[in-house]
Assembly symmetry: D2
Homo-oligomer: 358 residues x 4
Amino acid sequence: MSSTYGENLKLSIFGQSHGAAIGMTLDGIPAGLPVDEVKLQAFLSRRSPGGKAYTTTRKEADTPEFLAGVVNAYTCGAPIAAIIRNTNTRSGDYAALLDCPRPGHADYTAQVKYKGFQDVAGGGHFSGRLTAPLCIAGGLCKQWLEAMGIHIRAHISVLAGIADEPISPDYTSQTPICVLDDFPVLNKDAGIAMQQAIADAKADCDSVGGIIECIVTGLPAGWGDPMFGGMESRLAAMIYGIPAVKGLDFGVGFTSSYLRGSQNNDAFDIKDGKVVTKTNYAGGILGGITNGMPLVFTAAIKPTPTIFKTQQSISLSKMETCELNIHGRHDPCIVPRAVPVIEAAAAIAIFDAYLSNH
Amino acid sequence: MSSTYGENLKLSIFGQSHGAAIGMTLDGIPAGLPVDEVKLQAFLSRRSPGGKAYTTTRKEADTPEFLAGVVNAYTCGAPIAAIIRNTNTRSGDYAALLDCPRPGHADYTAQVKYKGFQDVAGGGHFSGRLTAPLCIAGGLCKQWLEAMGIHIRAHISVLAGIADEPISPDYTSQTPICVLDDFPVLNKDAGIAMQQAIADAKADCDSVGGIIECIVTGLPAGWGDPMFGGMESRLAAMIYGIPAVKGLDFGVGFTSSYLRGSQNNDAFDIKDGKVVTKTNYAGGILGGITNGMPLVFTAAIKPTPTIFKTQQSISLSKMETCELNIHGRHDPCIVPRAVPVIEAAAAIAIFDAYLSNH
Amino acid sequence: MSSTYGENLKLSIFGQSHGAAIGMTLDGIPAGLPVDEVKLQAFLSRRSPGGKAYTTTRKEADTPEFLAGVVNAYTCGAPIAAIIRNTNTRSGDYAALLDCPRPGHADYTAQVKYKGFQDVAGGGHFSGRLTAPLCIAGGLCKQWLEAMGIHIRAHISVLAGIADEPISPDYTSQTPICVLDDFPVLNKDAGIAMQQAIADAKADCDSVGGIIECIVTGLPAGWGDPMFGGMESRLAAMIYGIPAVKGLDFGVGFTSSYLRGSQNNDAFDIKDGKVVTKTNYAGGILGGITNGMPLVFTAAIKPTPTIFKTQQSISLSKMETCELNIHGRHDPCIVPRAVPVIEAAAAIAIFDAYLSNH
Amino acid sequence: MSSTYGENLKLSIFGQSHGAAIGMTLDGIPAGLPVDEVKLQAFLSRRSPGGKAYTTTRKEADTPEFLAGVVNAYTCGAPIAAIIRNTNTRSGDYAALLDCPRPGHADYTAQVKYKGFQDVAGGGHFSGRLTAPLCIAGGLCKQWLEAMGIHIRAHISVLAGIADEPISPDYTSQTPICVLDDFPVLNKDAGIAMQQAIADAKADCDSVGGIIECIVTGLPAGWGDPMFGGMESRLAAMIYGIPAVKGLDFGVGFTSSYLRGSQNNDAFDIKDGKVVTKTNYAGGILGGITNGMPLVFTAAIKPTPTIFKTQQSISLSKMETCELNIHGRHDPCIVPRAVPVIEAAAAIAIFDAYLSNH
């Protein structure tokens, strides 16, 4: 486990926020799959801070360098390896955190586990920056799934309590959800309100969280396995690997627990000669196995733990409380940038399930 | 994957609802751990239908037979194997479901995946009955964790919309949560209302779902790993293996997405010379690693899909819609019986994390 | 690892020699594969002692009971579980070995590892009896491979220094190699001499070992993976799991190290429109991947460590040397009975490689 | 599987001979282990061609760049990643091999498996060059084992039929075996004769193979697990991942099959208050578990398949035989350079077993 994932594919994510490079290896991928680096870069750019008002001021081109596994723009059957060099690092900002851990962050647990040997700079291996190599692997899997007609699209469902429109059960658009200049919402007014909420939080030296909804269309019935090999288990093991995810449900999820069986069961129907369900409360999964309807899930993202407000922490050396004031570069909200990360994570888990079934 | 789980322990669950036996093998367990079969039986009985008004009329003693791995009431280092014979089966009830799948159940997806070779009787390998061997494995892990001072307790947080009291952040009782004759709630009135809701649903030939909250006390800081080896990923991969779970969150979970960072961050503090947090919104996990506070999560259980109301389904042979009327023995609500299953699942995932860290 | 094997299939072997039962679970097998129990029993009988002069006097029918995963003689997609009850046990024979370990056996290492909690009766989990459930799993895989035209046949290549004929490079017979009443050799005179050598060893209260050669015909080119996923690694991880195997090589194996490249390289050729090699020094594997030629390997089996001759051992309680005299039932030679075990092991590893490639 | 190895550590090897870089990721390593890069470089240099008469003329510094997992010369608990840039490549040499595969090499099997998408340059992922990142991982594990008093030393046991002295059962030297200027033999005369045999093979446009013996001293009793988790299975799965290994045995290995039990059993004894065996025919392993005696194994290395002699091959496009003449840079013997690779492989497998037992 640890930073390795997968049943038939083997994904290994490595790197620390301020180390030489971050990267990934992806083994078990069939030979002959096309690798479109331009399309991949466009996908990675959706995750990049890009100088937007609501993001960190850290600037990184985040252009992957492929070291292995790709020859003439096709996978060659050997493990794929790609790295992104860290260039814009300021390690000096972090030394104090070894003694005085940030509330809500992994500083303290890393200290207990690694006994001071952890890389504290920029959050080290716990940094959100590690989602960049996840997006390399996921961006590739997404391309390969798209070639099979399987599309993965996510949007900000809720941010700071402001709700976007729900995804229509018939949503099949193949482009990223994005009505508002790189801000992944379906409803423009909701998006503007969300951006204002982020700006407000930033002005207050605070942060906000949100919920991301993801829909996967075009999945055939029959993928996934019983019990621990079910699509929910596969996706959950991957998605909870993304820092800041604290909740995940499938279909109507938590809401299903308030319904009666007669309400929650999706009646089977025939449409255009194919088996469908009239509703999709199950989110496209029955018994862990896809049923041919869109796979739908939502993930809760906690507010960025690193805030500039004064907080109570402790001095580990003195074992007494202290005040913590953090300086540096931190997003007041990571939800918009987490949207492609959720898509990437879903793509990896689903492509792995595909490999298990073929 | 599939019906196999674990990093350092290897759990394999087998069996079909109406086959010869259900069972489990559990490899990777150190030698010399005590096995208290009386205590295990008491734990398994919490999952048994036991003739209660709100459960199935199927009666099974569910007494495990240990075939291997236990000598003189201690683990011997070899893989543990235990089975439960299926005795009270009525396979005749299920043949029709091969053509006309139950909404909300795995009948259709099993048909697509296994092409008619699946064991349809009683839901086969997709039956909730498979949670009995999960409770054997989990009941053992629970005993071993308790010997380390780690206690896992769950209760019905919500059932049919009726809420129990929340678990107090200081909850450390070591006995099962159960004020009301085997009905795992903290508040007696809430429990009575829940039981009435189950009776009402049964009278309506319908079913209800609910939410289970689980708390793990006594966990030391430092267990778990970054990314996919995080406690959330480990627990989620296991808990989503339980049939009918459709949602899972940790700490305040989905609620955290509505909070600001300054509200959601748990301030560090010193108490009795130990590092604690003043609140526990994070549910005891930071960066995937335990922080020494109680680990708290909630799981959403959908209403039993098998209901006696007339439902719309389809005939797979005729590819046309049809009416489905189900007879047989089915719980109008599995939530009470799922409570020990959630505890068992948590115990397995946590004991595996323990083994990885020792 | 431990007693669990496999990449796409997951095999778990459990049981102790004198416990309630031995058995196996086999997960990841596609639905719809036929299970011929009569044929399986015939295969298992090749491993049974069967009252032959050269084997143990322990008598066990070794008839598997299938508990799960097989419905109407076909796999149903759920994990397969099968057990064999231990009936003819005499546990009283073994208590003394806890203090005075048998040379060449796992008594001492089990004591160090399990600190006295190991099941010492009959060798516990280290007993050769555990190869019976391996033969259940392997016997099934063998059936499924045979249905694809892939045949696995082994024979005693050398026993007590007496050599059988080598398998001809063109060997394609589909029946077990066995000219001499259940004694798996190609040359009758060699077989008679081997049986005499076993009888001589028995008369001397001693034991003998041997070498088993195995050939797999009908394998298509292209199975296996680079490096640790190569056919040699896959087969070796499985075959070294068989007690008493101390050597393994592929093709001409150790001999290849004495040859020049021009001698050892198998020249490519075209035969009947197919790519073949003129010789098969590589044993059908190049770069870890099958090349379409017969896969050939040999495994060295050490002489049974449990002998009736007086041996020097030690008393662990007194930490001083002592004389050890063993009574009971032990084969003076396990090589003939190991032949089907080697076939079973090869079948499991090859079927797993098949699943990885399909 | 594939190019990923390990139970508690997760090693992933990537790269192609003439790609941008080769490298490895190593996950699951505890924090706080020292990384001595100077010592590592010295170890890697033993594998480097280094302009010796008997090796390839390809020159590569083979200096690893650590990208992640190491901070201030200590492991930080995050996955370790290191790469070696490929600089001295001549890809033009290989295009013809896509149609006309080299006998004894993976050209043909890669073509069948990857359908022309494989990286053919320099043997791609099948190149012996991939043993360089294996030596990075193994060199680190070796350092960490040495700090526990566990030493791994290998030498050329046989080369082109010329035998070195056997390693004495009391061998405990902690420096590399190397009497003759970087040529790993115990006996100088044997080494000179071996070097002459390599020179002769080279003059004949041919190649030679050999056998490597490896001894691991200082291992405590009790490491390893039963069956597939045994030390033999763990080591074999790793060592057969090294290109050109075609045989492997433990202790007296194949020879044990010629002995009687009374000869092959190692009598237990007490020496300096510790349990030892009077002989070590078992090679330090009983029942898959270390017994405290030196772990000894031998691996057979086939002669380099790429030779400059004219060979018969086939044209895959024309499906007819053809003559193959190879030009380029190839070792007439890889055995001397394989010695540290065998040590590295052993170190990885043993360190993984250590992690499983701690």
